[in-house]
Symmetry: C2
Subunit: 763 residues, 2 copies
């Protein structure tokens, strides 16, 4: 028999569409294992682009508490899987990609044979529970396909997905005692009482449905499911581990030990028993819904009516091919692995959050029907406003407009009347600083990707930015900065608000709303109010207008910043590089500052404070593994030494992105890190989303074609490319010399070509 | 100002409808206080007929546990209110009427002035919390109206309802510090973790919505609400009493202490602050929905768009007038109080369980839309199949058919594929024995009140009755009885199954399904299999066919019965009195047995075992306060001494039903006790629902007219009525002498008249 993958890739090779001239299979370059070791927090399992289901193995389900204290290992398991682990506990259906905080891990499924064990057991004693040892040698991880052999049982586990359905295929050995366990207690970032309630109902000998309600990072969340087996189970059972549940059973009216058709409680595990022949496949379709059990069943029927695993896999991989082909590059195999795995990572979050009939749970906890858009959740906006949404404005224009509509629906449903900060499954996490939704909205309008009511969007931005009781905004409005006494992150919030305000001003200007423009363009200069010229750094300012005395510009702890020290955050005025340069004493001092950032030595004690990234995520004191400096390398373009931008970009790219399990220097942050890679390796970057300019870097690809939804193509040609040829001698845009160090959004969207002429020496 | 009640009663006096010749206000005879003392378990608050809302005061919110042990006082508070209590804790929106088990008590509201106290405090120290002393002198309890003065605050609390909306009106003293507390932790039968989750969202300064999910007697239940104030609150606050809730707040992004627009958690209380002038009224509309918060808001808009308290009250009382006028009687004021309060108590449960748009939560935990019927819940069928549903088949034909449709929907949604046993808010309690839904379905079909698919109903009955793994049914099918070893209530279950099976047989016969008729008419004789002729009692039988040795026919504890001893249960073969008499040794021995039952002395030790009733609920060893003997007094009609039925009925009526707070000798059992009263005081009773005959008793009214939905009237005339004239000399039906001791359902539904000629001496 031909291996299904071979068949699939063969087919994909001939996959073509009108807009894509390149018919090479690009899925082959995607390696979801990249980033699963150490701090990347990506997951190796199966998903389709922006799918509701992310079906992936967990290597542990560590609990929030260990011996009564916070368990620091929780952080490692944001995506449920750590490459160095030796055991798999099971396969669950929801995962964040690359976050620095955790939740999800819903509905863990594990196949076993032999004695029934309903506890996962521990990594050091895997035989004590249902978990199994595994080897990376027996593991295949592709876009929308994951396969592993479970050593404990010799079961081969394969999985693929459609948007709302996880499809499992387990190849069993011969066994009279085969089990499939559904663990409704397991979850990522588990703690006592995270699982608020669970309900399961058996419909027949091969179908069940239910829901699980959690109080996790999403405070009030219910996820519904429907589950179908390809083969009837012989018997099934539930175990209720809840403590203190008075009404758990039915007064002995039934024998509920086995084959009882329903259960409800806080801590539930279920099992399903089979007899299997050698090599027999048992398949499972597991559909999700944010709305109802019937919704989940309908999603299953609509998306995966049959039992053809290979077809579902192929359909999903073709969907990936279509998305990956939106940018075709030439370059080394290693570059392609980096590039297409980055492309892959940019298209996992945000995730679709509605049933096939358009119904979804809103932030107001009511069920809504999406009117003319696809509803999305998982907006990690502090990260993604920078490059991910700008990338979508080029290659995912329809989806980005739908994301904006989802954000406006969030605003309409918000009890606080605010745009999303960190949207998670019909909940608001309020994670990180700023109100960066406004930059996403402004960028979409400025780039004419606004199939929504732009004036309504502006109103939502203004309402959000005027929310006086949110994180120092009242003080910020009154004083032009957030006083140190009022917030632990007063400086980074002040800086980020100023940028956000500038983006609101751009939007207002475009819509002719001059009063709003005046208000917010003024606010956008507030970054200057926390600059201490006496030391040349942004610094916490007190209520009395003086700067805080005790201050260490290398520290990120209790220094007025979040995920960055003053050295990095001082450069955060992407809306006004010229003003910043002037503020910091002119070009010479500014260049010296930038040079120092990349070359200085950061003592170990400061690294220990730095969240979310490995030592590899830092170059000198430049922290690429967190986002606040993502624009920094491009700032040389505002000086007379743009060649240093080119040099830095080509230095950062290979250091921070490697096609290995530990290849990411920090959390991928739902695609922001990967979006930086894509832009930078193409040769340009959106320094200040909200304007239509991209700043020139240094392309790392040998060439590229951006195949746009409008049918046009923007071609990147790189002459004299080479590892040392990082400097740009000249640029031609549509055959004419480019003056200055930027191109516009229209230059790209109108189609055309840019040609970089590279050299090993800077001009 | 005229007191609104006066206006109301004045209007009601002139209330009339085509079918009611009697225009007297009957609401005036309803006294909801009856049964609130001791064991009646009725509630004094406001509701409309079959309303979703029962808005009533709680006199305590005792918890399930006291000092770590079960708190026996819980039982007292099945309806939340005990007449002897001195304090009120607040007013909540859902209550069972007359049950022997408890749940509900959702959404407790309490107005206070002065220092804000968010705990209820204790009855012995009312000032320690928000509760208030009150006096019955300051209390008014009417159909759909309740009023009380709260001594702690001098606030006058008034309440009324529509089907889905509770309407509060609080008249405050002058206060700069007035509060309205919404306690989302309070509930009836509270225990740790009963409240699974709570969510509240403030829409504006006078509107909020939310939900509460409970794990109570209804194991998995969510009730949604929308709440509107007639006056904006100045400020509001929440307090979260939850323990172990990791994600409760928002990381300090907001000051959530006051005026924050949302909260979620397990244990929540909310308060709303006002300034009030002397005599200022603050009104609250509080709408419920089993489906969603929006559903609750829509219910509020649809049912109570304005703020006219008096109109809502009047509308509801007119609805009661219409229902009460279905039977107009002549008799003493005391008789009318008993009669119309009984009528009132028969029309509280079952309750409407769907939104105004027809949506409801089903037993399968999905949202459904009722197609052509009104969906009901709260079916206490072990009680109500006996007389309540038969009464509905006369005076509530449309509703009873809708109740059957609700039961069939329950069947369709049941994971166990069974008709309801005890249906509670989209949950099945499985409380008590038998599968008496089948008798309700059969009775409706036999009485031609079947605007549903009767064959589908029969199939549901058969599927339910063949459910081998439910409470001994398998054994019952195989052996003709439930062995003592297999069930603690083997005898009463065997007896009740046999009756239920007979009703299925009647239904099958009517539908021409002869195979089913044969199967179930045979099963209906199974009652004989647990009769021990050697002692003359029904008795637990063992697997080996011998009777259990240790046996006390007076005991209800561990004797093979539920809520009845063998003395009472031995008479339980209502489907076959002739057969029973023969089994028990012929008429002479049977009459002696009946006589003994009513006259013997029940030693105190046995009374102590008897659940749910006071000493007053027992006559000799005849237990009227529980249901199994409700047909027993009528069994003399199958002997040559029917005058003893007449005598017993007229003895039972005044002993068991008094127009006083302690007037009910046992739990009203969602109207079954009251339905017995109504039938018996009219002179006839449905001994075996499922046939169309009513057995003659002795009328206690002076006369009556049953005003039927079909426009016809059945008149009861009583000649020579008197307290001692309890014996019937003759009966004329439509002017012709009645032979035998029964009339048929058609006799009633065709309209006409029955005339009883009474005497002080029996024939």
């Amino acid at each position: 028999m031909k291996h299904p993958l071979t068949v699939c890739l063969l087919l994909l090779t001939f996959y073509t569409s009108a807009q894509n001239k390149n018919t090479e299979s690009l899925v082959r370059y995607v390696n979801p294992i990249i980033g699963t070791q150490r701090m990347g927090h990506t997951f190796p399992g199966a998903t389709v682009p922006f799918g509701m289901v992310q079906l992936s193995p967990e290597t542990d389900t560590v609990s929030y508490e260990l011996n009564g204290k916070y368990n620091p290992d929780v952080y490692k398991y944001c995506a449920g899987y750590q490459y160095d682990d030796k055991t798999i506990t099971g396969f669950s259906h929801t995962h964040f990609s690359g976050t620095g905080h955790s939740d999800l891990g819903d509905f863990l499924i594990m196949p076993t044979v032999g004695e029934l064990k309903l506890n996962p057991g521990t990594a050091d004693k895997p035989c004590s529970g249902y978990r199994s040892a595994f080897s990376h040698a027996n593991e295949v991880s592709q876009a929308n396909y994951y396969k592993v052999k479970l050593d404990a049982s010799n079961i081969v586990a394969e999985m693929t997905t459609s948007t709302r359905v996880g499809f499992h295929q387990y190849t069993f050995p011969k066994s009279n005692n085969a089990h499939i366990i559904l663990d409704l207690m397991a979850g990522i970032y588990n703690y006592p009482d995270k699982t608020v309630w669970t309900y399961v109902k058996i419909l027949n000998d091969s179908t069940l449905m239910g829901y699980r309600q959690t109080n996790g990072w999403a405070r009030t969340r219910t996820l519904y499911f429907a589950m179908a087996f390809s083969k009837p189970f012989i018997q099934h059972g539930f175990k209720n581990y809840s403590k203190g549940q008075v009404y758990r059973g039915f007064w002995g009216k039934f024998n509920q030990g086995k084959n009882f058709p329903e259960i409800a409680g806080k801590q539930i595990r279920a099992y399903f028993d089979f007899k299997t022949n050698e090599g027999e496949k048992i398949k499972i379709k597991f559909a999700l819904s944010p709305v109802s059990m019937d919704g989940a069943l309908n999603n299953m029927k609509a998306e995966v009516p049959g039992w053809d695993f290979d077809k579902v896999k192929l359909d999903g991989q073709q969907a990936w091919e279509k998305e990956l082909h939106k940018i075709t590059i030439s370059g080394s195999a290693e570059t392609k692995k980096n590039f297409y795995t980055s492309m892959y990572h940019t298209m996992i979050n945000p995730t679709i959050y509605m049933d096939t009939d358009g119904q979804y749970k809103g932030l107001d906890q009511n069920v809504h029907k999406a009117d003319g858009f696809v509803n999305y959740t998982t907006f990690s906006l502090w990260d993604t406003y920078r490059a991910l949404h700008p990338l979508f404005n080029i290659i995912q224009t329809t989806r980005n407009a739908d994301m904006v509509k989802s954000m406006l629906a969030h605003f309409d449903q918000s009890p606080e009347h605010m745009l999303p900060v960190w949207s998670n499954s019909a909940n608001e996490n309020w994670c990180m600083s700023g109100y960066h939704s406004v930059a996403v909205l402004a960028d979409a309008v400025m780039k004419s990707n606004a199939s929504f009511d732009a004036n309504k969007a502006l109103d939502a931005c203004v309402t959000t930015a005027r929310k006086r009781d949110y994180e120092g905004i009242g003080d910020y409005i009154d004083r032009g900065f957030i006083p140190d006494e009022r917030s632990g992150i007063s400086v980074s919030s002040t800086l980020e608000y100023a940028y956000d305000d500038w983006s609101i001003a751009q939007l207002a200007k475009k819509l002719g709303r001059n009063d709003i423009y005046e208000e917010f363009i003024k606010r956008s200069q507030n970054y200057k109010n926390v600059y201490d010229a006496s030391i040349g750094f942004m610094r916490p300012k007190k209520l009395d207008g003086t700067f805080r005395k005790e201050f260490d510009q290398l520290s990120t702890h209790n220094a007025g910043f979040i995920e960055g020290n003053s050295w990095n955050y001082t450069l955060f005025a992407p809306q006004d590089p010229e003003g910043l340069i002037k503020l910091m004493g002119g070009e010479k001092r500014f260049v010296r500052y930038l040079d120092s950032l990349f070359t200085m030595h950061l003592p170990d004690k400061y690294f220990a404070e730095t969240e979310d990234i490995t030592r590899d995520g830092i170059i000198g004191n430049y922290v690429h593994g967190n986002e606040p400096s993502h624009h920094v390398a491009y700032l040389y373009n505002w000086t007379s030494q743009p060649w240093k931008t080119q040099e830095r970009i080509r230095m950062i790219l290979p250091l921070m992105y490697k096609p290995t399990p530990d290849g990411l220097g920090g959390n991928d942050d739902t695609g922001q890190m990967s979006a930086w890679y894509i832009f930078s390796s193409l040769g340009f970057y959106p320094v200040a989303p909200g304007n239509d300019q991209y700043s020139i870097g240094s392309p790392a690809v040998n060439g590229a074609a951006i195949n746009l939804e409008n049918g046009k193509t923007f071609t990147v040609t790189v002459k004299n490319q080479g590892a040392k040829n990082v400097y740009i001698q000249k640029i031609e845009l549509n055959g004419k010399p480019l003056t200055g160090w930027s191109i516009s959004h229209a230059d790209i969207m109108n189609g055309g070509s840019i040609t970089f002429f590279m050299s090993s020496r800077h001009k």
